[in-house]
Symmetry: C2
Subunit: 325 residues, 2 copies
Amino acid sequence: MDDVAAHAGVSRALVSLVMRDSPRVSDHSRKKVLASANELGYRPNAWARNLASGQTNTIGVMLNDLHNPYFTELAEGVAATAAENGMEVLITSGWQRESGEHAAIDTLLNLRTDGIVIGAARFSGEVFDEVAQQLPAVAVANFQRPDSMDTVCNDEAHGAELVVEHLTSLGHDRIAHIDAGNAPGAPERRRGFMSAMSERGLAPIVFEGDFNEHAGRDAAEQLMRLKQPPTAIFAANDLSATGVLAHLRSIDARVPEDVAVVGYDDTLLAGLGTLSLTTVHQPRQLFGQRATELLLERIKGRTAAKHELIQPRLVVRSSTGPAPT
Amino acid sequence: MDDVAAHAGVSRALVSLVMRDSPRVSDHSRKKVLASANELGYRPNAWARNLASGQTNTIGVMLNDLHNPYFTELAEGVAATAAENGMEVLITSGWQRESGEHAAIDTLLNLRTDGIVIGAARFSGEVFDEVAQQLPAVAVANFQRPDSMDTVCNDEAHGAELVVEHLTSLGHDRIAHIDAGNAPGAPERRRGFMSAMSERGLAPIVFEGDFNEHAGRDAAEQLMRLKQPPTAIFAANDLSATGVLAHLRSIDARVPEDVAVVGYDDTLLAGLGTLSLTTVHQPRQLFGQRATELLLERIKGRTAAKHELIQPRLVVRSSTGPAPT
DNA sequence: CAGAAAATGTAGAGCGCTCTATACACGCGC
DNA sequence: GCGCGTGTATAGAGCGCTCTACATTTTCTG
């Protein structure tokens, strides 16, 4: 910076003002400085800048798992909203290990970004509290709702209810749900399914499963061996639904004529022509947007915790149809 | 840091040594300082540390697109190798826009991370040169091979050759390739296919396509309307192959008895029981590992550019079988 | 055309750390 | 008792920037 100042024949302070786009600089000086900077290949040092200014203009995003589209779309929403507000985004990932998550959050805390978005749920409540105590933070898709930070969640239960509503309106009454045990989000989906069914006076059939294809296939096999097999199967997620479809195809059951199948998440899979799966869509980018907005409020000084619930919507494709009569 | 020093009754320099795990500190002092730091909730400020030390102990990873598993697995490989070497990883994404890529790389350059891994290919050669001039850098999956930085590429052509070899060994001789125009990697796959075919004295059939399901379906439709339809179809990637499968199913052609189908990339899709696609697997984590290793060499002072080619391997599943006689 | 207000530029004290040089204490051999 | 090496601790000068307070110049106003 000193070199640029000398080259342009001005003070270091002026160069600093130019680099920060201050309006307090005349056009003439600005051009002169910019030209010198360009000529010398000068680029402000972020570490020095942030140290001196005490702020980073950066939002840290800590993701549990980069492979999961859920989190990457969340990050995309954060990035878009951050960009609108002139902030940058730095991402760290826990690579699916809890130790990794701790390292990732530590990196961000050491960096003292202006705020942190946490897209992961493996931490215990105390960790959330500890993080929140150090920096403005908001957790996404975390069902613990720590009161020390804001949260943004999808209304899983409502998604399940939408499915039940859709299927019953098509005349289905023997509806089975293949769940995913205690995996994140699964208990909420199960509860939503069960209460939506009982509200309609229907007996909820729940089979144990998981968030993968194999589990879907196994559960479907058991379900179709029942004396009265269900006319509709609501799988834990799209992948699990894929397993269900595979089994149904193997026993020559027609979809949706004999059995209707519903997934959850609206992943790439669901949209494939071969599967064309009715599923529940979550506006995942919106999660990132709301999270960032809440974070910006926090950065500006709000302290009371806010908890938001985002509503999913049903995407009807050709894996569901009227119940067989 | 001053507070911790005062609390522990030592100098600031000693606290600094303790925080950096220096061996030059007695056990007694170390414990005392650590206890004080813990009590006061002290956490070293990364900005100040990096500014003063002139190094960041951090590798920056710039990805074109976080949604693409290709890049996220690359990043995972980088993270793993970086961790082994005691370095941290910070990720920025270009969100599929060129302007985004520039912002992402600028963030990293301003941060002056110890090195940069670039997992994106939209830049012009000059941008690569400019980046390489400022920081040690390595580009992955970039087919331009700028001589200013190291590169790690997958040997796409070889992957295509593996496919041809597999199919011809099964007796296929009318093999069609659905390509993906000039999308990254596609020209290399096409060239590999064509040369492998001609080497074996076979006429390469190439149809225009893209890296998506729709293109695969359209091309398959045209291919199967030929007077002599191919007995094997090698799609541009798994997604495109999914489209091929969908069309074949719609015209009741059996896979692999009537037509063999091969994808590329070995994504989640290929492994699904319903599709069970023979495909080409790329060791994507290995890319990240090699990239990081090259980068560490650069950081240590190597200046001559290295270009590595990583070999893919064929994963045979049930979408390929002996050619119909 | 004086005087105030606005516009523009500058000096210099930090920001929170690292790192070189140096100090001090201790035990060793001669 | 001296010099020496070894193990620990410290002082203090930066790292490259920002920001407050102030200086200087230009413009506006009656």
